[in-house]
Symmetry: C2
Subunit: 241 residues, 2 copies
């Protein structure tokens, strides 16, 4: 995935200073495409001032009348949501969002959509997104500044994609992330293997599987890594006396 193919879509932004701060955060992280849906004031001197040298992204910004227009051509859309919504919609955290993005190929177009400063995105707008992305925050003070939210998602995208670039340079290609079903099968296979080789006593399991789940959940396995590890488990099982 190319960072430059990630577009940031800001919906009905009230303060032009936030638009400027958002493009600064974008350019810092290597993102280039800004779409504005019905901005209250744009262009504006406050946006230029807060962009602090990222005003090239303001100059190339695309102003749209509708969210649909801003999402045209995007294969994958994430909508930032400060609240855990009552609507049932697939939800990811920023690291999972970045992990999904990093597995896409170089031609993919992705949108990160951010709502109004005080009201966020409407349910109708969120339903145009494939995933809601929720930035973990202090439950008693959970509303991030708009540019701060852009900064967090753009930062996670950069870490995931540039790490990706680095690993591609070492000749290691990537594979799509393992699904929840595949992870469930993985944990069953891991548990059976460590029982078979005599490491886990089913009568006294202690915290072992919980610790191992925590470790491998944190690693966000891709499909190929999962298959390698299951190959190792199978080889260990085959060698049992």
């Amino acid at each position: 995935m190319k960072l430059s193919n990630i577009r940031v879509v800001l919906v009905q932004t009230t303060h032009p200073g936030n638009i400027g701060a958002a493009v600064r955060a974008m350019k810092n992280m290597g993102l280039e495409k800004l779409y504005l849906v019905e901005p209250k004031h744009f262009p504006h001197a406050d946006a230029t001032a807060r962009a602090s040298g990222a005003d090239d992204l303001l100059a190339t910004a695309v102003v749209c009348e509708t969210l649909e227009g801003a999402l045209a051509g995007c294969g994958l859309v994430f909508g930032a949501s400060a609240r855990l919504r009552t609507i049932a919609w697939p939800q990811v955290n920023p690291r999972q969002c970045a992990s999904v993005i990093s597995t896409l190929d170089d031609t993919a177009e992705v949108a990160l959509v951010f709502g109004r400063e005080h009201a966020g995105l409407t349910n109708e707008e969120l339903e145009q997104c494939h995933y809601l992305v929720h930035i973990p925050a202090n439950p008693e003070f959970s509303s991030l500044n708009l540019a701060a939210a852009v900064q967090v998602l753009a930062y996670e995208a950069r870490v995931a994609c540039v790490d990706e670039v680095a690993s591609q340079e070492t000749g290691v290609t990537s594979s799509p992330m393992a699904t929840a079903d595949e992870m469930a099968g993985f944990y069953r296979h891991l548990e059976q293997t460590i029982i078979d080789i005599g490491f886990l006593d089913p009568a006294n399991p202690r915290q072992l599987m919980r610790r191992l789940r925590r470790l491998f959940n944190r690693a966000h396995l891709d499909k190929m890594e999962l298959n390698i590890l299951r190959g190792i488990f199978a080889a260990a099982q085959k060698n049992i006396n």
Copy 2:
């Protein structure tokens, strides 16, 4: 580690709006303690406006004449550095910084130090830090807004420490991170094990170890996890026909 024991230290901040945006980012992520070393304007209406409801952190901010004063009582100090410095000093990325913080106990006091808007921290100031922390950025536009840098480090700290809290609630305690030496021993043991069980052919190793290194480096193993995995390797080796 308690997020409320992480202090943010801002050195000679010029724009009071940045102080306000920084405390908003702090409070969003659950951080509470602000130290200001020789701020140019403080208190100031711009700081209060940008704090957007986090002005309780401005009210309790500690204004110091020196960085030494602001660091008093801190066991671990991270200095934010935009550039890869010429001085040889231990350097971490934001995720590693958060990972180290998350392993500390609840009484630990940690400082995250941020320099001037245009000039950052001096070498003399950086030498008062145990680690430099560098936020990965576009090499052609690498200087983040002060509050955006605070946001990224506070976000990583929250993700690491709240994940920690969640896992403690499930009864899984944490352990200090594995050292580079221990990881080297881990990879030797892993490689020997998968050779012994017939999964890795040393004559045709392909990308296997590279992929496994990438996976386990990403997981940031703690000492206990490393010992569990080495226990599994040893059990698999013991069962070889």
